[in-house]
């Protein structure tokens, strides 16, 4: 028996951004970049681990908006257009850099990588990356968990329990469609928990959730094992707390890995570096320079004179960081085991998109770490929360405390000067949705279409992403517009249903636009 357990948890989420009404839409690039730089590298990593018979465990939340986008034919089509353009750029780069050996090799490196991404997307998985992740879940290697239906910030809906219930039940339904089984765990959006949310999880048969360290530590009664074991809430749903030490090790500025001089520099991109006329076909159609994903430099140090990226050095460094991370976990586990006299569990949750998109070598780091854990040590074992609970079904009963993983640990990021204006609208819309669901559930076909679309608009307006963007101070216009559009569309449907006069052509047009959750069950709002 190992002395302890480590669970790596990656939260993969992007807000629902899909604009069929435009030929090109800048914000859709979030998805395309994440596919190339994060999701496909993680899939390739798991393929490799399975091929080499490495026994591994990984947990990922794949949120309903992300799954919806990954399964959407229009966005799939546009991703292929996007990656094909990059392949073309990399071909030009191979020629352009013929006298610059270091860059020439990198151009080839990107060329092969983009080709591989397209082949993985189109050929290996028939455009269905959700199916790719599902495959690893069915092999017992990856545990996929769900999230709120649209990443709504649940604690600020506490006065509208139906809205919380709908966020969870609709996510559960969507998960079933994507993965053919029920989710065992949930990533509460923004890890935001308030006492009482577990009751809705119990109804959905969701068995555990993740919270930030202080949410568990400040639980009542005091959790005996701190954050190194889960607790049961009184509803029987388990809560797991984030380990501070392991996340700090990856992300702190002094000791964090991604800032290493040999790693790829995120900011130097040919989209900015190259001559305008040459790069113009590959940047934003309006001619605005933007990142392309081809980045030739390493971090180098505190200098503006960056040196060319050396893939070989970067891989050496990722392997050595993985070794260091493993060593520290071994020491941590040994030490905790000595105190607790039972195996501690270390929960290391991260945003998935950090790995690959931001920290380019991140997926390689996880790959090396996973392999080393399997072959180079016996102190701890990788696990998933479900597997851990199966092995350790006896835990303490505690009421965890309200908390989130945002700055300062509570609601402040999503409730402050820039974004508090949205809540009166969201609350009224939630209350009106319940009114509609109760009073018009026996309406005719058109009314039911109206009810479904009203639910979609409310759900989309509730994404915590919009409040977050408003708070961070940039791209605010898009977030404001999304919030307003969804609320206003909701209000118009509400008025039309109440006045028994539904404008069908307009309804059809927004059904086509905001097409998330085709079978949304509005009865959850009753």
């Amino acid at each position: 028996m190992p002395q302890g357990y480590v669970a790596l948890i990656l939260h993969a989420h992007l807000p629902f951004v899909r604009h069929p009404e435009y030929e090109d839409f800048l914000e859709e690039d979030w998805l395309y970049e994440a596919i190339t730089e994060t999701y496909i590298p993680l899939i390739k990593m798991m393929e490799g681990l399975v091929r080499d018979n490495v026994d591994f465990r990984l947990t990922m939340s794949l949120t309903p908006p992300l799954c919806s986008m990954l399964l959407d034919p229009l966005l799939q089509e546009r991703y292929i257009r996007h990656i094909t353009r990059l392949i073309e750029l990399s071909e030009k780069e191979i020629e352009r850099t013929k006298w610059d050996r270091a860059f020439h090799d990198l151009a080839w490196f990107y060329h092969n990588r983009f080709q591989e991404a397209r082949a993985t997307f189109c050929d290996s998985y028939g455009r269905n990356l959700v199916g790719a992740f599902r495959k690893f879940q069915e092999m017992g290697k990856l545990e996929i968990i769900t999230c709120g239906a649209t990443h709504g910030f649940l604690p600020l809906m506490m006065e509208h329990p139906e809205a919380i219930r709908a966020q969870i039940m609709i996510a559960r339904d969507h998960y079933r469609q994507c993965f053919g089984c029920d989710p065992r765990g949930i990533w509460l959006p923004e890890c935001a928990y308030a006492p009482g949310i577990e009751k809705f999880l119990q109804e959905a048969e969701i068995r555990w959730f993740i919270m930030d360290s202080h949410g568990l530590m400040f639980g009542n009664p005091r959790p005996r094992f701190g954050i190194y074991a889960p607790v049961f809430t009184t509803s029987g749903v388990a809560a797991f707390g984030r380990d501070v030490e392991s996340s700090k090790q990856v992300w702190s500025s002094e000791e964090g890995y991604p800032g290493d001089v040999d790693y790829r520099d995120f900011y130097r991109d040919v989209g900015f570096d190259l001559e305008y006329d040459y790069i113009k076909p590959y940047i934003h159609p309006d001619g605005i320079r933007c990142f392309t994903g081809m980045k030739y430099y390493r971090i180098t140090g505190k200098t503006t004179n960056k040196e060319p990226y050396n893939r070989h050095w970067a891989m050496e460094k990722a392997a050595s960081h993985a070794g260091n991370f493993m060593f520290n976990r071994e020491k941590q586990v040994e030490h905790l085991h000595g105190i607790m006299k039972r195996p501690p569990l270390i929960i290391s949750p991260y945003d998935a998109e950090l790995y690959g998109h931001w920290w380019f070598e991140g997926p390689d780091f996880i790959n090396f770490f996973t392999r080393k854990v399997a072959f180079d040590q016996n102190t701890f074992r990788l696990t998933t929360p479900t597997e851990y609970l199966r092995e350790f079904p006896t835990q303490q009963i505690t009421q965890p405390s309200a908390s989130s993983w945002g700055n300062k640990g509570y609601w402040e990021v999503w409730l402050e000067g820039s974004n508090s204006w949205i809540y009166p609208h969201l609350h009224v819309a939630a209350q009106r949705m319940t009114e509609l669901a109760c009073n018009y559930k026996n309406g005719d076909h058109l009314t039911q279409r109206g009810l479904k679309q009203a639910a979609r608009e409310l759900l989309l307006a509730q994404s915590s992403d919009w409040a977050f963007i408003m708070k961070t101070g940039t791209m605010v216009p898009y977030a404001v517009k999304r919030t307003k559009d969804h609320i206003l569309r909701f209000t118009r449907i509400y008025d039309q249903i109440k006045s028994h006069h539904i404008d069908e052509p307009w309804l059809a047009s927004i059904e086509w636009r905001d097409n998330i959750f085709p079978d949304v069950n509005y009865h959850y709002y009753e």
């Binding site: 400040f218 701190g226 006896t394 609601w411 052509p505």
Partner: protein
């Protein structure tokens, strides 16, 4: 391509083919070995050809769906569109109820109809709108809905947040009824006793952040005014909200319970039906019954061994420091920052809007001034549009008017570029030999390539 064809190529050509196929570590191979590797790889990719064929079908379906969706008016349904409709409507109705077929790599070898049957089953293409409203004339959000509701929530252990949904008219009316013309927000600990704070609302205020002393305490608020008869008129009362605790609990009692994850909550309720008290939570009931010796159809593990205060002290020593010095910029902030802001930052030119301090991840100029210079070489020319042009042996694509241009990065050094044009008939050939030399000398700090100097990384605090 068979082996003989491959052998006829130069090693450089073969290396290029090998790179295209994604073969690694081939540059040191002998030509024959290289041919073998390429041949193998080509055979493999032929095997994948089948998958491509199916993908093409799926793609056609998706294309049709897309065309269909984009078209404003469906005048004629093409065969493809009909095919797409059939492929789509089937899964949405049936396959969702039956157990969905496993998806994954096997897709590549399942029949095409099955493939498309579950490819789109979660988000089928939306129904085709007859009209797409580019401008919906949605109007503006109302200032208030006039529900009169008073919302109160604890934002963190020391702040409450309140808003009230009153229209300007309602606010003015209430002010008119007040003896002193003022609306007040009164905050209570729990929901009774004297208010711990009374706030006079400004004329344009719609919400309020209220500092409070106590964490882990329940608060409520009421919105109202003093009437002329000296009574306080309550417009609305909020529900109670509790500030979260900001320290570990002093209650160290530990109740343990066994809850097997593979037995559903529904089944657990069933097992203890008749023994659970009214209003008792599931885990509490299980705990009570497990201690009382109720027979459960699973193994209990309540004996966790002794636990000492030394152990508690030691664990808290480990956790304490970190817990109270929360990472100011966690992984969350970094990633959100990136994925949601980068594009916009760059495209809007608002670079300086953010600059988390002390980045160690990207270099910033020491003082305000900086300079970078580099050179690229552009070869351009024109010939008959149907002629063949090569630069340094590489074919160049001509534009429709016969012009062409080509970019090269141009580091220090000496270079020769032969440029050749051959007529379409192959009977005329012209050649140019271009030679270049670049030498750079710099004084002071001169960078090589332009970079967005304003960009800084979101380094942790």
């Amino acid at each position: 391509m068979n082996k003989a064809d491959l052998l006829a190529k130069t090693k450089t050509e073969l290396l290029k083919t090998a790179h295209r196929l994604g073969l690694r570590g081939v540059s040191t191979l002998k030509k024959e070995e290289l041919v073998d590797r390429i041949h193998e790889a080509q055979q493999r990719s032929k095997g994948a050809g089948q998958a491509k064929g199916l993908t093409a079908i799926a793609q056609r379906v998706a294309d049709a769906v897309k065309r269909r969706a984009v078209r404003k008016r469906d005048v004629t349904e093409t065969d493809e569109a009909v095919a797409a409709t059939t492929a789509r409507s089937q899964p949405t109705r049936t396959s969702r109820r039956s157990k969905p077929a496993p998806v994954g790599a096997e897709d590549a070898v399942t029949p095409a109809d099955e493939l498309s049957a579950h490819k789109f089953d979660v988000t089928p293409a939306p129904p085709h709108p007859q009209q797409v409203f580019q401008e919906e004339h949605l109007g503006e959000l109302p200032d208030a809905y006039g529900t009169g509701r008073l919302f109160l929530t604890a934002r963190d252990p020391h702040w409450l947040y309140a808003y009230w949904d009153l229209s300007w008219q309602q606010m003015a009316d209430y002010r008119g009824q007040a003896s002193d013309g003022r609306l007040l927000l009164r905050v209570f600990e729990k929901n009774h006793g004297d208010p711990i704070q009374t706030l006079t609302l400004g004329h344009d205020s719609r919400n309020w952040y209220i500092p409070v002393n106590k964490a882990a305490t329940s608060y409520s608020a009421e919105l109202g005014f003093w009437r002329h008869d000296g009574q306080f008129h309550v417009i609305n009362r909020s529900s109670e909200t509790a500030t979260p605790p900001d320290a570990v609990s002093s209650d160290t009692t530990a109740k343990f319970v066994t809850i097997p994850i593979d037995i559903s909550f529904r089944e657990l309720f069933e097992i203890i039906r008749g023994h659970i008290h009214d209003g008792e939570a599931l885990a509490d009931a299980l705990h009570r019954l497990q201690l009382a010796g109720f027979r459960f159809p699973f193994k209990l593990g309540l004996d966790l061994g002794p636990w000492t205060t030394d152990q508690t002290t030691e664990l808290e020593r480990i956790l304490g420091g970190d817990l109270f010095r929360r990472i100011q910029m966690g992984s969350f902030e970094i990633s959100e920052w990136l994925r949601r802001r980068m594009q916009e930052e760059l495209s809007s030119g608002m670079f300086s809007a953010f600059s988390p301090s002390g980045s160690s991840w990207s270099g910033a100029p020491q003082n305000g001034f900086w300079f970078a210079v580099n050179a690229e070489l552009i070869i351009y020319g024109a010939t008959e549009p149907d002629a063949k042009v090569t630069i340094d042996g590489k074919p160049v694509k001509l534009r429709s008017d016969g012009t062409f241009s080509f970019h090269y990065s141009f580091p220090d050094g000496q270079y020769k570029l032969p440029v050749v044009a051959i007529s379409a008939a192959g009977d005329d050939k012209r050649e140019a030999q271009l030679s270049f030399e670049r030498q750079s000398r710099t004084k002071g700090d001169v960078g090589k390539v332009k970079q967005p100097v304003h960009l800084k990384s979101p380094a942790a605090a």
